[in-house]
Symmetry: C2
Subunit: 178 residues, 2 copies
């Protein structure tokens, strides 16, 4: 996740579950080592998921208004999260716990099918991300991401996009303007 | 995929579907630009999935005996594959076409649940792979992969493991022996 192209009723139902919370820029939804027990639906604002690797913060995912996000591997496997989730703006979200989410998914064959569809979408997004990371050219990396997320620069500060693209902010500014 | 930790009945059923075929080392199951219409169950042998990027072959996945594999994003979305799939040894496999696979998945709620479980597993494997690619230290990259696939060197020639790990064969030999 992010998941802007997934408009199934599963997502619209999720919006009405759980509890609403508003957090400030810089607040954390989850820290490395904690087990992810929730799915977050972003009503407004934006969050980023990042990995702390050798004292460097590596941003790997964004969650925007209208999308769902969490630390997915930790959520699925029940293992400690390798990632942090931090609000990059003031963000209002719905917090849906795992039991409520599972109950929704298992409440009908249609919902289970939509959950399988969602997992398929996430796999294909991860494969896109894998190809991104293997793409040497900075301009090609930027092009691939903008093809998928044309409004990225309207949603997310440049420094986090640069981290996501594995380039310096200076390189990103240069390739963006060339 | 590869998928060695997934022992659901969906996989054992797949073994009995489709047509059997034996291919030689160097033969291709799929080439870049073709649409993936099959799932492959590896009865014996091994295959690799690779991306051709700026004239360099980047190996991104292996399929071993007892696992299923294909060009997944192409299979799901019906878009041209960005990857090649090549036998790295003489390989016997079952080829299951999309219609037969979908029929199996949709034939019972249990099978659909197992398919959703499989997609969950693949998402978590992709997230592991993403962290691999973001890990700077070659020895840490090797350790991460061996923790998941302890028998990798028994299954796959060193040059392909080196490509998968984004290091030269010389570096891989060095970090493996240190």
């Amino acid at each position: 996740m992010p998941d802007q192209s997934f408009n199934h009723t599963l997502i619209s139902t999720i919006q009405n579950l759980g509890v609403e919370k508003t957090i400030s820029k810089g607040d954390f939804l989850l820290r490395e080592g904690e087990v992810e027990r929730n799915v977050y639906y972003i009503s407004s604002g934006a969050v980023r998921v990042f990995l702390l690797s050798e004292h460097e913060e590596l941003t790997i995912r964004f969650g925007y208004e209208g999308s769902i996000i969490n630390s997915l591997a930790s959520f699925i496997k029940g293992t400690p999260s390798e990632f942090y989730i931090e609000a990059i703006r003031k963000t209002t979200l719905r917090i849906i716990d795992k039991a409520a989410f599972k109950e929704l998914v298992n409440s009908s064959p249609e919902n289970l099918q939509q959950y399988a569809d969602l997992m398929e979408l996430l796999v294909t997004q991860q494969i896109d991300r894998e190809i991104d990371l293997l793409t040497v050219s900075p301009s090609q990396r930027l092009k691939r991401v903008l093809d998928r997320s044309p409004n990225l620069f309207q949603q997310v500060p440049l420094k986090y996009i640069a981290s996501y693209l594995r380039m310096t902010p200076e390189t990103l500014s240069r390739v963006r303007n060339s």
